[in-house]
């Protein structure tokens, strides 16, 4: 931690997008209590979306304001406003905006029309943004908690629903447990290196192989990995995810699947790939270090997600397992990135993949959130039977969403996966080839459950009347996500370039 104290206006500009979101989060909270008690809270959603759009505009200004991969340390280096965090901010802020739009009518229909909801979504996004920009263990931990606490509450937002309360309890207990483990890891790293600053930790490890190989450093690293692993639901720490994703209201599930996961990967890539590097912390004589551990976890996660999803009849639960498997594919990229040079192509593939995954997920959940009426979501597989013909647009959106998640060309999910696996192959190590083969096998398995949903949409007859909560906001979510899924898949070059530039801003530290 840097102890220099002085007011620096550049700090405020670097942090401006996040500060705007924070300001609107506070405003949403105050609107809730100062508005007329019986008035609709829909306007708070509009205000929140407006705030997020302003924040996105300033993120864009940051991006275009400088040439090349920019990186401005703020708060004496405890945080950084670089292209990398700007890239993730786009995912978080647009994800939060889509969540707000999607929730507007959902909350009214489910009789949950409270302004705190939007405030919590915004606070969650603030936590995520801090996580992507954290360069100090203290900031990283607080950001993680800001995000987590907001999402715990959102999960249990349907107070009358037992599923929601149960999901929230599980998420909370697991999350708090994971935080404690993560924190212990941080304490050990701090004890080993004498600083909570990631750059100082890197220098300490680089300069002293004995220190990097010490038991305390290894334990610290393992604990940090376990703690973050819980948050992004990688095997064997994924068991809470299906219950929580099922219990949470559908828009919140989408927000979790996109935002929390992206924030976790933002922290993992920055922390592991750049701070620890491949040479530090070797677990075995083969010198693979933590990469070897991630390698095994990637395989486990892919299988756990895809095999778990096979027999699910609850669509939310199925997509929960699917999101676990996507964390597995992303880990393939992280491993390849570690093997193939830190700011190499494989890590930019991870970033691109996350972008495609985010909008595909919102496309799928945007449709699922519409199925239901007060107090009940209609999310059984059979509830989607025949929807493809009755509601052609919803059918098309859900189909393209799951096909993109499955990795069918020409959608965003396909190109993301293709590019990710291609880069993993180009690392040129035999064990990476095996990992790619396993990822391909898993994609085949995944086709089964994704296509089964499509079969239900178009080839089965409806078994019961399914109420649908349509709204302009939800249509906007679907149109935006649909457009982005297509554009990202068909014209990937510009977006790849953006991902590369973001990654380069991490630079050699």
């Amino acid at each position: 931690m840097n102890t220099e104290l002085a007011f620096n206006p550049a700090d405020l500009f670097g942090l401006l997008p996040v500060l705007i979101v924070f300001g609107f989060a506070c405003a949403a909270m105050l609107f809730e209590v100062f508005a007329k008690p019986d008035a609709s809270r829909g306007f708070i959603a509009n205000v929140s979306v407006f705030g997020l759009l302003v924040a996105l505009y300033f993120t864009y200004r940051q991006w275009t304001g400088t040439e090349g991969p920019f990186s401005t340390p703020i708060f004496g280096g405890m945080m950084v406003a670089d292209a990398y965090s700007a890239f993730f901010n786009v995912i978080f802020f647009s994800g939060a905006a889509l969540t707000c739009l999607l929730s507007q009518r959902y909350l009214v229909a489910h009789k949950l029309d409270f302004g705190e909801y939007y405030s919590l979504v915004l606070f969650g996004a603030v936590g995520m943004a801090f996580m992507a920009g954290a360069r100090d263990l203290i900031v990283l931990f607080i950001a993680l908690e800001v995000m987590s606490v907001a999402v715990y509450v959102l999960t249990g937002f349907v107070r009358k629903s037992r599923r929601s309360a149960e999901g929230a309890l599980k998420y909370f207990l697991m999350g708090a447990f994971a935080s404690a483990i993560l924190l212990y890891g941080m304490a050990l790293l701090y004890g080993t290196c004498g600083s909570t600053d990631l750059a100082v930790i890197r220098r300490a490890f680089d300069g002293d192989p004995e220190l990097a190989g010490s038991l305390m450093a290894k334990m610290g690293l393992v604990f940090v990995l376990v703690g973050l692993g819980f948050k992004i639901a990688i095997a064997p720490f994924h068991l809470w995810a299906p219950d929580v994703y099922e219990g949470a209201p559908a828009p919140v599930t989408a927000f979790m699947a996109v935002g929390v996961k992206a924030a976790g990967f933002a922290a993992i890539v920055r922390m592991f790939t750049l701070t620890f590097g491949i040479d530090s912390l070797q677990f075995g004589a083969d010198g693979k270090g933590w990469v070897g551990v991630l390698y095994l976890i990637a395989i486990l996660t892919m299988f756990a997600g895809n095999l778990g999803a096979l027999h699910q009849t609850n669509v939310k639960r199925m997509l929960a397992y699917s999101s676990i498997s996507h964390a597995g594919y992303l880990l393939v990229g992280v491993v390849a990135g570690a093997f193939g040079g830190l700011t190499g192509e494989a890590n930019s593939a991870v970033l691109y993949y996350l972008l495609g995954y985010a909008f595909s997920t919102f496309l799928a959940f945007g449709v699922i959130a519409l199925f239901g009426k007060e107090g009940e979501e209609y999310v059984h597989l059979s509830d989607f039977a025949g929807v493809g013909f009755k509601k052609p647009f919803l059918g098309l959106a859900l189909t393209l969403g799951v096909l993109s998640l499955a990795g069918i060309p020409p959608l965003a999910g396909f190109f993301g996966k293709f590019y990710l696996l291609k880069e993993a192959m180009e690392v040129g190590r035999p064990e990476m080839t095996w990992l790619v083969v396993i990822a391909l096998v898993n994609s085949m398995i995944a086709l089964y459950y994704y296509l089964r949903l499509v079969v239900f949409l178009y080839m089965k007859d409806a078994t019961r009347e399914v109420p649908i909560i349509g709204s302009a906001g939800a249509t906007a979510v679907l149109v935006v996500s649909l457009a982005l899924v297509l554009v990202l898949g068909i014209f990937p070059d510009d977006y790849l370039e953006i991902a590369r530039r973001s990654l380069l801003s991490l630079g050699p530290q």
Binding site: E145, A168, L169, A176, S179, A180, A187, Y190
Partner: protein
Amino acid sequence: MTIGLEHYLILSAVLFSIGALGVLVRRNALVVFMCVELMLNAVNLTFVAFSRFRGDLDGHVMAFFVMAVAAAEAAVGLAIILALFRSRKTLNVDEADLMRH
């Protein structure tokens, strides 16, 4: 014998393990949560011990933030536990099994 860094570290490791074990074996949601708090405080002890041993302040600062975060978690956690208790009339985490497939 003087009390050195290692004694604090051993004590905090033991406390942390007791907490972790409690989370894994206890069934009452409140007790599980108390065990998590024990783990957090064990970590705080580690931070403060390292900080004192090294003579810098980072660990103390971290301990302050951990306390604040633990309070926020406690508030949210108790609210969630109360919400579940209202609907289920039990605090046993094993009975929170609505979503087994």
